[in-house]
Symmetry: C2
Subunit: 371 residues, 2 copies
């Protein structure tokens, strides 16, 4: 049972319907009129007018020329998301680069900075200071464009709980308070900052990019292997935020010893190192692990990212063989296997998107803030 725990009042109705209208303009027809939004949502035109007026006044929607139309009637006024409203700052720190980007409400990447440099010799403070500089530059550029950066999110290749990076083996980090380090940069001090696992955020990035199927598994091949599971458009993090550890899924119970202490973990067969030595082996191991996921969760789409993107063509068939053999329902509907569309930018884009998601899901809060 979905446990209802919060009361609902009139203000909640408005908040919900504001989000509904915003969502309809964003994901529905192209530059819809108020009347079209009313028809699509089931609200009356009067209500939609009032809601739209609020959203326009609050700087989330703009009135634009509508798409051409034939037939009689008063011409419509088109509606679209602003490109001069709230923006999300997406950050990423990885083994060999730092990156920052600013994405506006329309999903356009407005600024993008990447700094290639091996982060491993540096200590966390140093890497985070450099990233902070990049972030400050990106924010400055965005605000010069009239954007309001409402928050930042950082993607790291490691385990994150309670806002702390518990362990990021490939960076050599342990218990790093990345949020505090970033907020120590004066230009970012007032900004809400969050951290999350790279695979989780990359999954959200792909979700936004494809706009298609809202249920899929994103598998990110790096030194280790991480996964982000998106169910019905929501990232599933697990009860304690420890989901997605596909790298340590058992593939061959008595196989190669893994650094985690177990044997036969996927990582030993399809991690970056193994991938460089034996692609068919990696494909078979991935296929076995993915078949398990599909049998358990009925996930119709799997997206491969990170180090798998350049070798996707070579992996595809080997994975497909195992999926067809081992997925019980493979005969009823084949599993779709795709390469990530955003490539290396997926995590950073997903990070920026988490910031904007807050605005999209609760535009009323943004309107209050502006007032």
């Amino acid at each position: 049972m979905t446990a209802p725990t919060t009361p609902v009042r009139q203000a909640s109705v408005r908040a919900h319907n504001l989000a509904l209208v915003l969502h309809t303009v964003a994901n529905g027809a192209d530059r819809p009129s108020r009347a079209a939004v009313a028809a699509a949502t089931g609200l009356t035109r009067a209500t939609v007018s009032a809601l739209v007026d609020d959203l326009v006044a609050g700087g989330l929607l703009v009135e634009v020329a509508p798409p051409p139309r034939t037939g009689a009637g008063r011409p419509a006024v088109g509606l679209a998301l602003t490109s001069t409203g709230p923006a999300g700052l997406g950050l990423e720190i990885n083994v060999d680069y730092l990156a920052a980007c600013v994405v506006d409400l329309t999903g356009t990447v407005r600024h993008r900075y990447v700094e290639h440099a091996d982060q491993r010799p540096a200590d966390p403070e140093r890497s985070l200071a450099a990233l902070g500089g990049l972030a400050a530059r990106a924010r400055g550029a965005a605000e010069a464009d009239g954007l309001t950066v409402t928050g930042a999110a950082l993607a790291v290749p490691g385990l994150v709980t309670d806002g702390l990076v518990r362990v990021a083996p490939n960076l050599g980090w342990q218990d790093v308070d990345a949020v505090a380090a970033l907020r120590a940069v004066p230009e970012l001090a007032d900004l809400p900052v969050t951290v999350d696992n790279e695979a989780n955020l990359a999954a959200l990035g792909e979700l936004g990019a494809t706009g298609g199927n809202p249920t899929f598994l994103y598998v990110s091949g790096e030194v280790g292997i991480g996964a982000g599971l998106v169910l019905s458009g929501e990232l599933y993090r697990g009860v304690r935020g420890w989901s997605g550890e596909i790298g340590h899924v058992t593939v061959y119970p008595d196989g190669r010893p893994c650094r985690c202490g177990a044997r036969g973990c996927l990582e030993q067969y399809a991690g970056q190192e193994a991938l460089e030595h034996d692609v068919p082996l990696a494909a078979a191991a991935l296929g076995i692990a993915l078949s398990v996921v599909v049998n358990l969760l009925d996930v119709p789409v799997i997206v491969l990212g990170g180090a798998y993107v350049p070798v996707f063509a070579a992996l595809r068939e080997g994975i497909g063989v195992e999926l067809r053999r081992r997925v019980l329902t493979a005969g009823l509907a084949p599993v779709e296997l795709r390469s990530a569309e955003l490539g290396a930018d997926a995590a950073m884009r997903g990070a920026a998107d988490t910031v904007l998601r807050v605005v999209r899901e609760d535009p009323a809060a943004w309107l209050r803030r502006g007032a």
Copy 2:
């Protein structure tokens, strides 16, 4: 993003708050007063009074003597769920028995009928006719008690999609319209009837029984092995309803051939037949498969049901060894491994609960009906 797709109006506010009050009375303090409900929910006492009056008039709540209290003040009136309101009819058909039960809003099993008989020689029509008779008797007895049976749900050991039993290997069924067969019984003709997989419903039964952790995996050992995954109190069915096929999860990639065509499926090592021959093998295989689930989904609790219940003590340690070895976060928090509390009744109870869930989640619909 949770895509908002439906408009909200004042009536939805009332519907939500009615559900909120009902939920608070059901799952909150013992026999709370209106004032206590107001404090627990955040609604005002005026609003709670109005909502409670509706629920009492509609026959979902009753006023009862409150729990003893000390101190000054006007004495409270306690609130509790009725035991003479809506009731759910839970049905189960399995290899060697038919069963029906009636559960009231408080969760009490009011009537229970079990008929032991091997269903395999019989054809589906015959089994369903017999079950229909049992169901009709149960409904009659319930209504003689003043209960209103609002629907029925049937648990079957097979794959169900779109309300049809596609295949139930152990019963020898294929493409059976069980709903139609049950509704052909005159005493059930007016009743909404649903069918679902046995493991799914058993998982929901356990959810209701424990009331504890709302995220767990229920594994049902029968001839085959099924699983019901409950995430945050919701059964996760998968995009097409094909989730939970843990029996065909690969445990030993080059292992025993399975009737599904693949090799090394869990079912070959921990299905009922294997279980009778080699308990340690079953435990190890289960441990491997369950470690995969925990690594992927961060599920903190696993409940073993069906044929695993009688041998749980013998399985426990063998499974635990693999979990401790293979779950990456086992050191941070151990995985809780439990035996099903409802035993063989879990599926039937869960089925009855799905009927009542409708009333609990949308009491407003029930009130409209009564009016």
